[in-house]
Amino acid sequence: MGHQYKAIQWNGNKIVYDLYLFAFVAIFIGVFMFVGLQTHASGHSADPVVLAIRALGTAAFSLLTIILAIGPLARMNKRFLTLLYNRRHLGVVTFLVASAHFGLALFWYHSSGPLNPFVSLFVSNPLYDSIPGFPFETLGFAAFLIMMAMAVTSHDFWLNNLSAPVWKALHMLVYPAYALLVMHIVLGALMTEKSMTYPIMTAATFVGVSSLHLIAGLREWGADSGMKQLKEKGWVDVCAPDDIAEKRAVITPLPKGDRVAIFRYDGKISAVTNACRHQNGPLGEGRVIDGCITCPWHGWQYRPDDGISPPPFTEKISTYNVRIEEGRVLLDPKPNKPGTRVEPALIPGAGVVS
């Protein structure tokens, strides 16, 4: 099993996750249709297809909002890691719900007319030069294309073949996609519906997601900025060995912007990059379990001394040279090639186990 994308397989937690996700979508759409199909006080009743288009769009947008909230929430509270773990399935389900919304809108509003439905989507409302009149469907379509690219490449196979930076860049497009969808709603549903509930809810979700990212980002930025003064070359004085909890790490930023996780375990100190080979999970927030550094996101493991995953896996991360001098942990800021073995620094008086 040399391929890293096989490293994660089905397990009980994933099945529970997916069943729950299914229940979530079913309840959302079920309640929407049930409430929406009630005859109005006027005696008028809504068209089930129009309602289904709305239910699916609203469900997809809600799921995307949740996806975007989980990241910063997990950085602030570790319990949310349980939701982050299988976020990729959440992403794929969101894409499927959005596809149903798109398909039904295309069928109901644009098909069996004098134009090809895909042409009609772009020309039936020609007010591209107006803001309130703008064809909001095109914004939804642009977001849909991004979501499709992300869903198609969500498997680790693609992470492997596209290279991590390309994959990561692709998945950062979720933020422009979210902005496009907010505008899809503002220039579509909000221009049609009169109830103040919609602008309030849309604004609340948008402000909520943005401020979660801002808060989580500010915390890390605060930590990084302290390091900006550190310009001098040579080894970096990080902390005392006792500042690191057993089987845990501290994370130190380096002047170049990299982050290093320095682990203490069994009387030894080892340093590796903070970025997991899988999806850049924060290794320094993980644990040493069964002698291996274990990523908090999806549980990938690496040996502390050489940064290589235990057999049968072969993934490698960069290691850093460490020393202990005069009761201080010193770190060489130059990374070693991924998989380079570094002799762990022994903590004096700790009595090395094993």
């Binding site: 994660i8 397990n11 937690n13 979530f24 309840i27 959302f28 759409i29 929407f32 409430v35 929406g36 109005h40 006027s42 008028h44 009743s45 809504a46 068209d47 129009v50 309602l51 709305r54 609203t58 809600s62 570790k78 319990r79 890691l81 349980t82 939701l83 299988n86 109901w108 509003y109 644009h110 007319g113 004098p114 039936s124 909001f136 549903a189 221009m191 049609t192 519906e193 109830s195 509930t197 809810m201 930590a223 900025s225 550190l230 004085d237 990080v238 902390c239 005392a240 500042d243 690191i244 501290v250 994370i251 130190t252 320094g284 927030e285 644990r287 379990i289 274990t294 908090p296 549980g299």
Partner: protein, 265 residues
């Protein structure tokens, strides 16, 4: 001197067991999920209930798909396909039933050679208050049967009575969706669909409402009473006003104004 500036110690704030996807979840995480998951489902139901219950009234109108409806009357092509049905009980002794093809392409309906012919047409009735439309398949022999019985009044084209010039403000609707196929079939979210229907030859209606809630639905034609040209398309579904002439043809009010007379408000 302890740790250097910028060093983060995750162990300070996060002392619990760690959740690892492939392992059994620690007790703290189980307890968290036990509370969070039901809360999530309640939140999902609550949010979708809120959104669905605040939607605008879908509007009057019905699409009676569960039954086939038969209409006997005289076929008329201009300005739009319609049946003129004699009905002594109705105001002015007749009813106009517009004809629409299935889908959004009325131009597929071809019966110019049957102008004025008495027929029995069968299709699905679309009904909004006193406005009616019959939705029929494109192939004539699937819905049209010429009838030979004498139908006084039905073959006689009603007079066109001018009710004078008028300046009206309202919305251009595609009669098919507006009369009941899509509820709600109005507003910006329905603009593209409405414009596509009108492009396909579905007759446009001008929906005029007064402040006190009274409304009038007028069939739109150009200034000469012919079908309105496609220049109207960008204005569909938006609030507009126009100077034109109101005429009555049988029981149906029509608004005669050229497409360039319409101005977005």
């Amino acid at each position: 001197m302890s740790a250097r500036k910028g060093v983060i110690d995750p162990a300070k704030t996060d002392t619990q067991d760690m959740f690892i996807g492939w392992a059994k979840a620690p007790v703290v995480d189980r307890r968290f999920l036990l509370g969070a998951l039901p809360l999530g489902l309640i939140g999902a139901g609550g949010a979708s209930w809120l959104v669905a219950s605040e939607l605008e009234d879908p509007g009057a109108g019905a699409w009676l798909t569960s039954a086939t409806h038969k209409v006997t009357g005289a076929l008329v092509n201009a300005p739009y396909p319609m049946l003129l049905v004699s009905d002594p009980a109705a105001p002015f002794g007749m009813r106009t039933v517009l004809i629409a093809a299935q889908g959004k392409c009325n131009s597929a309906l071809k019966f110019a050679d049957k102008e004025g012919l008495p027929v029995e047409a069968s299709g699905v009735l679309i009904e909004r208050k006193d406005r009616r439309m019959l939705e029929v398949p494109s192939f004539l022999d699937e819905w049209l049967t010429p009838v030979l019985i004498d139908m006084p009044g039905s073959v006689v084209m009603p007079d066109t009575v001018s009710l004078g010039p008028a300046h009206l403000a309202g919305t251009v609707m595609d009669s098919k969706c507006f009369f009941g196929v899509m509820r709600p079939g109005r507003g910006k979210t329905h603009k593209a669909c409405a414009s596509l229907c009108i492009r396909g030859g579905i007759p446009p209606s001008f929906w005029v409402r007064t402040k006190d809630g009274r409304e009038s639905v007028l069939l739109m034609t150009d200034a000469q009473g012919g079908p309105i040209p496609m220049d109207i398309l960008p204005l569909v579904a938006d609030p507009v006003e126009a100077q034109g002439e109101i005429v009555r043809v049988g029981d149906m009010l029509q608004f005669r104004a050229d497409a360039n007379a319409y101005i977005r408000i």
